[in-house]
Symmetry: C2
Subunit: 251 residues, 2 copies
DNA sequence: CGGCCGCTTGATTCACGTCAAACATTGTGG
DNA sequence: CCACAATGTTTGACGTGAATCAAGCGGCCG
């Protein structure tokens, strides 16, 4: 099993759960969450499906380490990446209600995955209303991100669209404490970016070259360096509102 | 105040709330919902904003009659329509948690709107877990629709994209009991369709003409006739899964 | 060392956008 | 009830951003 990416992420960083940042949680809530979400952990190699469209999942998954993605595929094979999941993020709280998944969840890198039986999380949520609220908060933010992506693909130019994706991933990484100054992990290939932005890999390549020439970013050895975040945000018409960061305890 | 559209929707059809179709509700739940959602009703003329991006809303809104839309606008004015809201649909249950709206809600036609004070709905939801679940169901379905739209704009061609939108609106209308055989209300202008699909109004026009020539649909006097739904669904690569209709009592 | 995966480059094509004007429909006010 | 204004649709000529096709390059991994 390929575990290269795991070790390559450096010293095992302190786990920072996105959920736990929700402002209304007590320290006790956060402890409970952490133990529940890390009780049962498995490692999935890069580029594998975690759960597929049509499945009836019995577990809620958390990405503890590595990146994952949601995607949908049309009947003829065209694929759209719908969002990326960063370390500390919950994949599918919605399985409490929806019977079948309408999209596929896959790993981008090797992923350490926390698995929580549906029933166990349900009990936690019933015992702790604040945790229920935290769960819905992350789900609603995911919805807001999805709306922003629709807007991005529908209205932004290729250049703006890629810039916007870079802004989002950098800001989310930073919020999760995963950046080092102006640099963050960036395990996506240009084909991934193409599938996420609705363009071809070739055009992604040419657009990124242009961004490099413009001195906005640097992308190499699975790392992204943002030279001037303000300028990147400006060209991307990026506005952090949609991430609803104001619910975080650290806001 | 212009109430033309209201009267033009024919005999005041029996109100069919989307929420009430949720399978786990009892008759008592449905009654409670209906009285709560229709206690306070106002009429908003066509093409007005209901709540705007950045607002901190105090009411949950239901569309009782007419069509509404969600949209986002970029700093330079480009606008993306994110979804359409049909009669019987809840606009924004998410205000329980999110502090500010990240998108704007506007009317397409004249809309009869039910307004429920946040607090009142919160109490209802606490008293009736099944209603809470119904609420989240509609919110999760809205999320699934958003993912499908992202996919549509990202992967489908102009022709497929419009066909897909037509399928969705027809199927959702039919589910809400708003179709008459193969015909449904269709108050969108070609500019609306353009803003929703990320294309220009001119190209929408040419594409629709092509669909008419292909005998798929007819669009006139604010009505859409679908001549062959199966064929329309086939060319659109339409799959109803994402609407999660299997939670409906009438499924 | 060799194979594979991801990146880069070039030539060409095409789906869709832009600009501009005319036409059709609908609702309004005199 | 007609006219006209506003809104929505259609048409044409032309431009362009991004797709397509095809080939070569480079670094990483077994």
């Amino acid at each position: 099993m390929d575990v290269g990416s795991v070790s390559s992420s450096g010293t095992p960083t302190a786990l920072s759960l996105n959920l736990s940042a929700f402002g209304k949680l007590t320290a006790a809530d956060r402890d409970l969450l952490k133990t529940t979400l890390t009780k049962r952990v498995r490692t999935v190699p890069a580029r594998r499906d975690i759960v597929r469209e049509g499945d009836r999942p019995h577990f809620v998954n958390v990405v503890l380490e590595g990146w994952a993605q949601r995607s949908k595929q049309l009947a003829d094979g065209r694929r759209q990446i719908l969002s990326f999941l960063l370390p500390g993020e919950l994949c599918d709280p919605n399985i409490f209600i929806l019977k079948r998944l309408d999209h596929t969840l896959s790993t981008v890198t090797t992923v350490r995955l926390g698995e929580v039986p549906k029933q166990e999380l349900r009990e936690l949520v019933q015992a702790r209303p604040a945790i229920a609220e935290a769960l819905w908060w992350t789900e609603l933010v995911a919805g807001a991100i999805q709306r922003e992506w629709t807007t991005s693909i529908g209205q932004r130019t290729a250049y703006e669209r890629i810039a916007h994706l870079f802004c989002e991933l950098f800001v989310r990484s930073r919020t999760a404490g995963l950046t080092d100054a102006n640099t963050c992990e960036f395990p996506l290939t240009q084909s991934d970016i193409a599938d996420a932005t609705g363009m071809t890999q070739v055009h992604v390549n040419r657009t990124i070259q242009e961004m490099r020439r413009d001195g906005l970013i640097d992308l190499r050895s699975r790392q992204m360096t943002v030279h001037d975040l303000d300028r990147l945000m400006a060209v991307a018409l990026f506005n952090t509102n949609y991430l609803h960061l104001d619910h975080r305890a650290d806001a």
